[in-house]
């Protein structure tokens, strides 16, 4: 009994960012937010030196929640305010278009002021006086909710000139995208916000912190990342760093979709539960009593994991030394580092589950259609390669698979990653590489089946 009690405790969500989001009666309006202690951290932050806030964020160990997991404090530290004479911009990445990801939407639709408070604090810390929220175009309602929240915040002088008598001025506006995934890539986002096609910029030299919006220093952060800033100010960086595990601090919102009984979004301390616990205990297991076949752990661009796989991962021992241990897929703790050590990534937190009835070639074909459609077209390997891979996969699904196709897919995908302007190149080749490598027999079976049906039709 005691043990099952401990298990239930372990599986209880720790909602920091989504603390109020689904509470009955909690609403988007500012009065509700204020009743729940809203904008208190802004007051506190405005009494601090901006550099002190950056120091707290560094101490917190917070890593970006948009996909790459880059340390937020380090990013903020790239702007040297002693030398910089240009305006600084802060951009909130609310493009949320990585397939499998639906966490930022929960924040925007249910607790918009939490995002605004985090953004205002982040803007103050980075000495920005103008900030934009880049929200994907399809979230029309989300944009309206944010517009209203901004107007409320302006009316209460949480935005505007001389915010709460601090002498600090800031305004924030909403900018709507128009259906292009590549706008989520931070430099594509910046180009889009400049009124151009969302063609990502080459890095170096165009690191946003150096040459961002209008070629000024710019901080781009994800919605969930910016919300965390508020909590770091509240509890202090050191206390925040105690949530989760070393180098994997704070909570994460895991978005589970696909073949589980209870898909949805679940917030846990980093590393607090395992992938197996998330799928079987939290999400109720695989639907219809089916068996697990594959999981994409961090949005569609992350490499697929196959049920039954064993990973060799480095783990830190209490004395600080590292040891290498073997881990089953189910035992992988949900954090940044272990998922990376399994050869994939926790990316945007989008966990897509496929059960044993699924055809892996069809699943990959579906994803490859996405990438073929969304390549911005600047780099030849990505523009052509993403389309070729999709054409091959569509042909395979349509009964025209050839024995050389699995290798052809690997050859094409192998010539994209690392040869492009932005990480979309990796994003479109990793799924292909991992699906083919891990489920090669299914890709080969397609070719065998196609040959058999061809010889059958010739015989008739």
């Amino acid at each position: 009994m005691a043990e099952s009690g401990a298990l239930t405790d372990r599986l209880r969500e720790h909602r920091l960012i989504l603390r109020y989001a689904d509470e009955p009666g909690y609403s988007q309006d500012i009065d509700c937010y204020l009743r729940h202690g809203g904008y208190e951290q802004l007051r506190k932050a405005l009494s601090m030196d901006p550099a002190a806030i950056v120091a707290e964020v560094k101490a917190s160990g917070l890593r970006g929640r948009g996909g790459a997991g880059f340390p937020t404090g380090t990013k903020w530290g790239f702007i040297d305010h002693t030398k910089n004479r240009k305006p600084v911009y802060l951009l909130c990445n609310a493009d949320e278009s990585e397939p499998g990801t639906f966490k930022d939407r929960q924040i925007i639709y249910k607790d918009p002021h939490q995002l605004l408070e985090g953004m205002i604090i982040a803007s103050y810390a980075n000495r920005a006086h103008l900030a934009y929220i880049y929200i994907r175009g399809e979230m029309v309602r989300g944009a309206q909710i944010l517009e209203r929240a901004l107007a409320e915040a302006r009316a209460k002088n949480f935005l505007g000139t001389n915010i709460l008598g601090s002498g600090y001025d800031l305004d924030i506006f909403v900018f709507r995208g128009a259906g292009a995934y590549i706008c989520g890539e931070e430099t594509g986002l910046i180009e889009s916000l400049e009124g151009k096609r969302a063609y990502p910029r080459i890095k170096p030299p165009y690191f946003p912190a150096a040459l961002g919006l209008y070629l000024c220093p710019t901080i781009v952060n994800n919605v969930e990342t910016l919300c965390n800033v508020k909590h770091i100010v509240e509890m202090g960086g050191a206390a925040f760093a105690k949530i989760g595990t070393p180098n994997n601090t704070g909570t994460r919102i895991w978005c589970v979709s696909g073949d589980v009984r209870r898909p949805g979004y679940y917030e846990y301390d980093c590393g607090a539960i395992t992938l197996g616990e998330l799928l079987y205990d939290v999400c109720g297991g695989i639907r219809d009593g089916n068996r697990l076949k594959a999981v994409i752990p961090g949005g569609s661009s992350a490499k697929v994991l196959r049920a039954g796989e064993i990973y060799r991962v480095q783990r830190k021992k209490p004395d600080g030394s590292a040891e290498e241990i073997e881990m089953r897929l189910e035992d992988l703790p949900l954090d940044f580092d272990t998922i990376a050590a399994s050869g994939s990534m926790s990316g945007s937190g989008g966990v897509i589950v496929m059960d044993h009835t699924r055809d892996m070639v069809e699943c990959l074909s579906n994803l490859s259609a996405f990438y073929a459609h969304e390549s911005c077209g600047q780099c030849t390997p990505c523009r052509e390669g993403a389309l070729w891979m999709h054409k091959i996969l569509r042909r395979m699904v349509g009964g025209g698979a050839r024995p050389e196709d699995p290798q052809l897919l690997l050859d094409v995908s192998g010539q994209i990653a690392g040869r492009t302007i932005c990480a979309f190149g990796e994003a479109c080749s990793w799924p292909v590489e991992s699906f083919v490598a891990k489920f090669r027999e299914e890709f080969e079976a397609k070719a065998t089946a196609a040959q058999e049906s061809e010889s059958l039709s010739r015989a008739c």
Binding site: P87, E96, S97, E98, P99, G100, T101, F102, D104, R105, L130, R136, G137, E138, M139, V140, R141, F173, F175, R176, G177, A178, G179, A180, Y181, S192, L193, E194, G195, K196, R197, A198, L213, Y214, C255, V256, S257, G258, D259, P263, G264, Y265, S300, G350, I352, M354, R358, C363, N366, L367, A369, F370, H373, E374
Partner: protein, 184 residues
């Protein structure tokens, strides 16, 4: 010619005072560069008139002091911008993996049948013959946990079924032309 020749819609020649006011307000949000207002103005125009015409390209480029090509290149890049009218009621069904696993492709076919949207209007958009309905696939709508996801005009629908669609169609008939207002 990228933007097809179309007769001007009522009000397109000179959009009204309210439209002008909104446009000014938008431009004011980008003090460092008027060009940033291009996409927001395209959204504004499309919301008002339903699609983007040659007149939209002229009006917006003039307003922002840009060449027409700067506006055209956005229209041809961003999937949500359209150069032809959609249906008075527009269905967007998510095509991507989690929704596909939950049957979104079957749902797409059912919606097309129900609406008689069989004529391809290019770019994967299907129209009913009288122009009332359009049906199209879109990529992941960030509603994967409640798949299949769908949008009807600006409204999002989770765990959508053909029953949801039937309800929407019945309501739209009941309320006459109110659905899809502002789409020209």
């Amino acid at each position: 010619m990228v933007v097809p020749d179309q007769p001007l819609l009522p009000g397109e020649e000179a959009p009204g005072a309210e439209f002008e006011r909104k446009a000014d307000e938008i431009v004011g949000q980008y003090p460092a560069s008027r060009r940033s207002a291009a996409l927001p103005l395209l959204h504004l125009w499309q919301k008002e008139f339903g699609f983007l015409s040659q007149r939209a390209v002229e009006w917006i480029s003039e307003r922002l002091g840009l060449q027409p090509i700067h506006i055209l290149e956005l229209i041809t890049f961003y999937p949500m911008l359209r150069i032809r009218p959609g249906g008075r009621i527009n269905f967007k069904v998510c095509r991507t993996l989690s929704c596909a696993l939950a049957g979104s492709h079957e749902l797409f076919a059912q919606i097309r049948d129900r609406c008689g949207a069989t004529a391809s209007a290019g770019h994967g958009i299907y129209l009913s013959p009288d122009g009332t309905y359009s049906v199209e696939f879109v990529e992941c709508l960030a509603l994967c946990g409640s798949a299949p996801a769908m949008m009807v005009d600006e409204e999002e629908f989770e765990r959508a079924t053909i029953g949801t669609v039937d309800r929407i169609l019945a309501e739209s008939l009941g309320s006459g032309a109110s659905h899809g207002e502002g789409k020209g």
